[in-house]
């Protein structure tokens, strides 16, 4: 057993790389609502925004007021509020696991140190890109059982395929954090869906994707599980080619 929580840095788990960063001052009604990112692939975008330049009150770029979508070419800002409202945004991006090409350097730090083990580095325990389970395909029995992996024991894992649920088993005292994005096939745009949102069993949402945090008991002996729900589909449904991207940090 290799406890990620005992390490400050551990190269068995990648140090996740920010492949995109942009600071944006956006005025509702006058600023362009889209701009090119020049990456050559669809980034997994996240970040924060504020209505004041000093970011005194900071909110996530996936709340009900400001959202950012991405596709292979552009970022699209959807900001609420009245015309003239100004937003200050710090926009970050990851590369999805399906991207294997080059990325431009984005190294930055608020100190002179780009790598500083006085701070801990959250290990990337798992990442994935999973599509909804097909309910009407008799030739894919594997899709009926879901995907499962143990995380935090033997190094970084990647998960791809089709499944309605992804079960990620881990051992206390690990307390993983999940980030999820949804690529909608109908628009071909990708958007952050949640950030560290967990629901105990029985409180699940019905709109995929969502993550369920399963407390000890079902697994026993301090074994825990995260269930990421990707949803189901049938041939011809709008979500047939949707993809849920996720990243899990320790």
């Amino acid at each position: 057993m290799q406890y990620p929580t005992h390490f400050i840095a551990n190269s068995d788990y990648p140090f996740d790389m920010i492949i995109y960063y942009k600071y944006v001052e956006f005025t509702k009604g006058t600023s362009p609502t889209s701009f090119a990112h020049n990456l050559g692939f669809t980034p997994l975008i996240f970040g924060s925004y504020s209505t004041t330049e000093d970011f005194e009150i900071t909110r996530s770029l996936c709340d009900n007021r400001v959202q950012i979508e991405s596709d292979e070419t552009n970022l699209y800002i959807d900001a609420g509020g009245s015309a003239g409202t100004k937003y200050y945004m710090k926009i970050y991006g990851f590369a999805p696991i399906s991207w294997t090409g080059d990325c431009k350097p984005t190294a930055q730090s608020n100190t002179a140190l780009l790598f500083d083990t006085d701070n801990e580095y959250s290990p990337l325990l798992a990442a994935g890109a999973v599509q909804p389970r097909r309910m009407d395909n008799p030739y894919t029995p594997g899709e009926q059982t879901g995907l499962a992996q143990t995380i935090g024991e033997t190094g970084y894992v990647e998960i791809e395929g089709r499944s309605s649920d992804i079960s990620l088993y881990y051992q206390e005292p690990l307390a993983p954090m999940v980030m999820m994005w949804l690529t909608k096939a109908q628009t071909n745009r990708t958007i952050l869906k949640s950030n560290t949102i967990f629901f105990e069993t029985g409180h699940g949402l019905r709109e995929a994707p969502y993550a369920t945090y399963n407390v000890a008991g079902a697994q026993g002996d301090g074994k825990m599980a995260i269930a990421i729900n990707v949803g189901t589909t049938r041939t011809g449904m709008p979500n047939y080619n949707d993809t849920v991207h996720f990243r899990v940090y320790g």
Binding site: M1, Q2, Y3, H6, F7, I8, A9, N10, S11, D12, T117, E120, E153, T154
Partner: protein
Amino acid sequence: MPNRFTPITSTQSTKAALQQINQNFMQLDAEAFTKTVQKGGNNQVMFGKLPNNRYGLLIYDDGGMPRILIGQAPKDGRPGVWITKSGFDVINEID
């Protein structure tokens, strides 16, 4: 000499001098595999062939606890970088 080689004095017999030379060579030969730097009797840095027969650079904290390994993992020799929190022996923590 500030380290571990013993100087040969002018009053030593030829036999004693040869023994001392060979002992110094043994020290030198050992350091071709493992270089260990100590302070106050505690290891500070070890480089080369490590006690577990893997190779790498091992850095200790003030209490003598190995905390940083840049080298081969104990179990399978895969190369990597591992840094443990205070109180955890980095060699024991890596599978």
